[in-house]
């Protein structure tokens, strides 16, 4: 094969990577179950991607004893499954498993990554990331998402592979444009 063809293939591969990133999001958006979760925000800045609101969900820290989970052997970076059940107003965790669980009707299993496992306080807590923790905003607007008076809630779409994407964000009950 000529170097021209190799170069053409390499450039096409670059385009495919970019399109695959968009496609994976659109798939989850189109097929996923909508789940609403409560958050606690902070506001960092990413040199590559600009200003964003770092979302910390209430379900980012799970009390394993309260959930009846006896497993204690968690490692950083490990993938776990959190089963969410509809609640009012937010969805609540009902189980945590290291393998994909079989949820009851109406429940949704979501994939998460273990940040760390905390046991030294006497209460076994699992700190997780769901991959939906960043909400990018135009420059200078992150401050509007800070403060005690700001209540944020997020809506996810969760596909059949347990992948969650952020679809909507609500500030004090009003929807914020995600795009």
């Amino acid at each position: 094969m000529t170097s021209r063809r190799w170069f053409f293939l390499a450039v096409c591969a670059q385009a495919l990577v970019l399109l695959a990133m968009v496609g994976a999001y659109q798939y989850t958006l189109a097929t996923g179950t909508r789940v609403r979760v409560a958050t606690e925000p902070v506001d960092p800045w990413d040199p590559f991607r600009g200003e964003y609101v770092q979302l910390r969900y209430r379900i980012s820290t799970l009390d394993l004893a309260a959930l009846g989970v006896t497993e204690r052997n968690f490692t950083r970076g490990q993938t776990v499954w959190v089963v969410l059940a509809p609640g009012e107003p937010d969805w609540q965790p009902v189980a945590v498993a290291t393998a994909r669980p079989r949820p009851a009707p109406g429940q949704v299993p979501v994939r998460a990554r273990v940040e760390w496992f905390e046991e030294w306080t006497g209460v076994p807590r699992l700190h997780l990331r769901y991959g939906t923790e960043s909400f990018f905003v135009p420059e200078g607007e992150a401050a509007a998402f800070q403060g005690r008076e700001v209540v944020l809630e997020a809506e996810w779409a969760v596909d059949r592979f347990g992948r969650a994407v952020l679809t909507r964000l609500f500030r004090n009950g009003r929807e914020v444009r995600v795009e």
């Binding site: 170097s3 450039v11 970019l18 999001y25 200003e51």
Partner: protein, 447 residues
Amino acid sequence: MPEPGLRSLPRPCRDWLAAELAYWEAEGLLTPQQGEAIRKLYRWEEESARSRTTATVSILGAVLLGLGAILFVAANWPEIPRSWRVALLLSATLGSHGLGWWLWRDQARYPRVGHALVLLGNLLYGAGIWQIGQMYHLEIHWSAGFLAWALGCLATAWAAGSRPGLAMGALLLVAWNLAEQMGFARANPLLPVLLGVVGVAAYGLGAPESLAVAQGGLALWLGANLHRWQQEVGGGPHGVITGLAALGAGLLAAGMAQELRERYRPLAWPYLLTGSALGLLALFLGTFLTPPDRWVSEARSLGLLAGTGLLALGTVVWALRQLRETAPASWQRLAPLAAAAPAVLAPALLALLPVGGPVRIGFNLLLLAAILGLLAYGYDHRNQAVVNLALVTFVAQVLARYFDFFWQVLDRSLFFMAGGVLLLAVGYVLERSRRRWLREWQGGEGR
């Protein structure tokens, strides 16, 4: 790679030879035909100052445009719909690559500008990855963005034969590894494989700078993993230090072997510099080790150390074979191998030594052997960088041991005065030797 049969020369030697050939011809020592025959032995092509300026300006332009694109991304553009933004990113990336290829290869009239545009295409591709991540609020395992960027960059660099592109891809792989090891605490076993691919491509394109980046990345990867595993099993930093010393010795031996072969000589310097710097630094740090209460006991760490040692030993054996095939062995030529061998054997020797003082003494002896060996090698091969590295380490070693032995014994004022005199004396002797060597190498007056 250089053309087969043609000998390459460093630029100062080339300039010197060109001037001398003209002089010899003028003096009647050589006929013009003989002069031409000698000239045909070497690679003489050299970029003019003008074309180098064009290349530098074009690449700087590409880098500035790429940085601008990334900052534009960081500033966000909420007014444009997502689909338009994706289309814009894709068309900018593809357009830059396409126009770059056309100018560089198809037209061949503006190769440097074309090459710079291909580099810009790679920067825009990276900007696209982060921009799409931002648009869709994607953040899970963000380090994968660096991997995707690096792979895309390496693919186009290989296909287009771009040395700067290859170096950029290698740097991105190192960035990806740092993110994996520091951000996600992962061992990242894929990195050595990918750096190996970079190494193969670097030989294909004759790109020593990418080899240097790959070797630096490999050292970081090995050091971080040995440190992590050492922490898991407890004990001191002995595994990290001996592992890095062995890697340094292996690289050094590989570099020395390549110096013996004309074909690989242009690619030898990264091995020599990275190997010397890594080996000397690791051995120097080893001289500060407190006696280990526990040696590396985990199978993974031992396996990694043994693997590194064997790799290094293999390269030394290879170097010896090359030596036998290319030239009669002389003591000067064997000196670097003698310097490399103790460092290669460091893990085994230190594992066998009883805990306590012998470990530090062992590291001191290994370091001195390495310094002497590198000085001999640098002198023999007229490699100023290797000589300088060895001399700097020697001064650091003298200072460190001076502090070790006399800090408690001497009065403070006397300690500093004696230290000052010692440093001045060492500096004088070293500078005099270095100038003499330089004078001899240049065949004229040293500076």
